[in-house]
């Protein structure tokens, strides 16, 4: 017969656990103060700003071309996507037409950047869940080929600074297509590897399935975007909903989840990589072999007519927006960055409270934050 422990009237105290700011599980310099009762999180206070560098103030004192580099330094895992958004904003204000070949280059690089970013997510998220180094080993082996490809095109491994308002900085190397095809082949194996070790893994399923489900209404109200929003079942992708560039020419699916839980967020990203491969594949076939890569008639110093615009694109983390107010001249009056992970992270408290401490780390990992983008 099982002996019931006597009911004791003990005075219990809530315990504060300080996670971060220097901790690998916070994916950067991020701190959250958890109030726990036993193993259950009762309150969570996210503290951000450790990486705040004034990325909105500095561009107000910069020439429109100097600003491109600052966008590389917001979301450092999706640099092409951020540069793209900014260039889009300037192009919309100036009414610039981007040459077709430049648009294709942008799409190919942007989609490969999405794959690279999601591979990074797979590696880090696997580590959060309990694969330790294994997931990183599999993803980074092939992610390296993408990095090499970007290096061949731009000359840089991280801060590409390659897109320009009106096109791209210089033409791509001669072996662009073969190199891209080689990268796609390698990435396909990486996705299959990750799929093989993670998707059906028993531990992975036990830890992720049903964790912190979010309803579509909540997700919209909390300002979610990107895979976080699509995991809840909202079929919303800016590439389709508000098409920019030449995305209306490609055939691709928008993967959505059903539960909005951590597992769905993972599945959506996994499928998104496959769709990105489809887009790159089509773009490589359609891309004109030669032609201009820069809008004609652009002066060295860009002067933007007065006006304002909120440009947004679908970055790997969601909606990356740039709001520019111009009063004429060569510097923006106001330059605001709407960072996708900033908005996704703002609902962390809602998702974490009521879960176990160990799961809080997984939930944080599933948002796929980039702290440089959150803090700007």
């Amino acid at each position: 017969m099982a002996v019931q422990p006597p009911e004791r009237e003990l005075e219990t105290l809530d315990l504060y656990i300080n996670v971060g700011p220097q901790h690998p599980a916070t994916h950067g310099v991020f701190r959250m103060v958890l109030t726990v009762d036993g193993e259950v999180v009762e309150d969570c206070d996210p503290v951000i700003g450790y990486m705040h560098r004034g990325n909105e103030k500095l561009p107000e004192n910069c020439d429109y071309r100097q600003i491109i580099g600052y966008h590389d330094r917001t979301d450092y895992l999706a640099q092409f996507n951020t540069e793209w958004t900014y260039c889009l904003a300037v192009e919309k204000l100036m009414g610039l037409e981007v040459p077709e070949r430049a648009e294709y280059i942008r799409v190919i690089l942007g989609e490969l950047n999405r794959i690279a970013s999601h591979l990074m997510f797979m590696g880090a998220f696997g580590t959060d869940v309990g694969f330790f180094g294994t997931s990183f080993m599999y993803t980074f082996r092939e992610r390296e080929t993408i990095q090499d490809f970007f290096e061949a095109v731009t000359g840089e491994r991280m801060m590409y600074n390659y897109f320009r308002p009106g096109g791209v900085a210089w033409d791509v190397p001669d072996d662009f297509e073969e190199h891209a095809r080689y990268v796609l082949d390698r990435v396909r194996t990486a996705i299959d590897d990750i799929d093989g070790i993670m998707t059906e893994n028993e531990v992975f399923l036990a830890r992720c399935r049903g964790l912190s489900p979010v309803t579509p209404e909540q997700a919209i109200n909390w300002g979610f975007s990107g895979p976080m929003l699509r995991a809840t079942g909202v079929k919303h992708d800016l590439r389709r909903a508000e098409p920019y560039s030449i995305y209306d020419r490609f055939d691709f699916e928008i993967p959505v989840g059903t539960q909005g839980d951590v597992y769905d967020r993972y599945l959506v990203r996994l499928e998104e990589m496959r769709q990105s491969i489809r887009i790159v594949d089509q773009a490589l076939r359609q891309m004109p072999k030669n032609g201009p890569i820069m809008a004609s008639g652009l002066k060295r110093t860009i002067r933007v007519p007065p006006g304002e615009v909120y440009a947004r694109t679908e970055s790997p983390r969601g909606e990356y927006g740039v709001y520019i107010v111009s009063k004429g001249g060569d510097k923006p009056w106001r330059h605001k960055v709407r960072a996708a992970s900033f908005c996704n992270l703002s609902a962390l408290r809602n998702m974490v409270v009521g879960n176990y401490v160990a799961d809080a780390i997984i939930i944080l990992g599933s948002i796929d934050i980039v702290l440089c983008e959150v803090d700007r």
Binding site: K57, K92, I220, N221, G223, E242, G307, E319, G321, S346
Partner: protein, 371 residues
């Protein structure tokens, strides 16, 4: 730059979203701004909540997604921009409202969209906008707050910090002292002169333009008129310069002054060293001797420069060379005493503890002697 403003269109175009808003709120007064992507309206602060509540809750509009909230400093007022999207209808709208700088209160919209929470905290911290009714109005990016509003236009991007200013001052004084030592007049601030000239020119141009406009001249004629005025101004300036009694010569070239100073110093050092060797001083003493000679030189130069400029920046040395030498000598002496005492103690066959005491006593004796 500030003269140019965002163009507002008085005639409100026939956009479906605006038509729906008109139907839902027939008495709302708003302005329309043309932007490349989203239709933008400007409402009064008093109408803000009414407008946003309708935009969110009215089934025809159903703006359920606040995608971005930005603050903008428009100098005379602080503006907040709400970028909205409707998932049900797929349309977008931007709403702007402003508050005067001396009363920057704007109602919080967190009860409509929870997404506004962090956006409003950030705007409050960066612009000093007070969001009335915000559930958690702490600073967001700077945990302890800043005490100033970095994204306001009144906050400069970078300021020369106090210590840098002091550094610049010291540098200036040293330069003046060196120039004086080289026997040249104090340098003239060329940049300030240029700025003054440019300002004068700008005044002339402005005046000429106003006169031309008053006379009703055409664009081409106006330009000519301004050109003539400028030419007259330049001629006058040239005459004034020629008439001025011996305009200050091209001032001391810094480098020449520096070279002269270095040469002089080298001479002093050489002489001092020779003297020291003649006296048969040791290495340490020789160094001190040279240092003293150098200090005398600096003092002389400081007195020379003292008339126009304050004492050249002779930084106060916390420990002068003589102090240092004395310290070294003392330490050496001590080490000797300790060594000797230890040897004596061992010769006497004292134990470890006794030995320590013996050494201590020897040291105390040394201190007394020194004192």
């Amino acid at each position: 730059m500030a003269e140019e403003t965002t163009p507002t269109v008085q005639q409100i175009p026939d956009i479906p979203v605006l038509r729906l808003l008109r139907e839902a709120l027939p008495d709302l007064e708003f302005q329309f701004i043309e932007t490349p992507l989203d239709p933008t309206i400007v409402v009064k602060r008093e109408d803000l909540l009414r407008t946003l509540e309708t935009l969110k809750n009215d089934d025809r509009l159903a703006f359920d997604y606040l995608r971005c909230l930005s603050g903008v400093d428009e100098i005379e007022e602080l503006v907040v921009v709400y970028h909205l999207r409707s998932f049900r209808h797929g349309h977008t709208l931007a709403v702007k409202t402003g508050a005067p700088v001396d009363d920057p209160r704007i109602p919080s919209v967190t009860y409509l969209w929870e997404a506004a929470n962090w956006h409003e905290r950030e705007a409050a911290e960066m612009f000093g906008i007070v969001f009335d009714g915000h559930p958690d109005p702490r600073p967001l990016l700077t945990e302890e707050g800043l005490g100033y509003y970095p994204l306001r236009k009144s906050h400069p991007l970078a300021e020369v910090e106090e210590w840098q200013e002091r550094l610049l001052e010291v540098e200036e004084r040293v330069r003046a002292a060196m120039a004086a030592a080289a026997g040249a007049p104090a340098p003239v601030d060329e940049k300030a002169q240029k700025v003054a000239l440019a300002q004068k020119k700008a005044e002339v141009i402005k005046k000429a333009r106003e006169e031309a406009r008053a006379k009703g001249l055409s664009g081409e004629e106006e330009r000519q008129y301004v050109q003539e005025a400028l030419k007259r101004f330049e001629e006058e300036a040239a005459q004034a310069e020629a008439a001025a009694p011996a305009a200050p010569a091209r001032p001391a070239d810094d480098r020449a002054a520096k070279v002269a100073l270095a040469q002089r110093k080298a001479e002093v050092i050489k002489k001092a060293r020779e003297e020291a060797r003649a006296k048969g001083l040791s290495g340490e003493e020789e160094r001190q001797y040279v240092q003293e000679a150098l200090r005398r030189l600096e003092q002389e130069m400081g007195q020379a420069a003292a008339a126009p400029a304050p004492q050249p920046a002779a930084p106060q040395r916390p420990a002068g060379p003589e102090d240092r030498a004395a310290k070294i000598a003392l330490a050496q002496k001590k080490a000797e005493v300790i060594k000797k005492a230890r040897e004596e103690a061992r010769a006497k066959g004292l134990s470890g503890e006794e030995e320590r005491q013996y050494v201590q006593e020897a040291l105390r004796r040394l201190e007394q002697e020194g004192g």
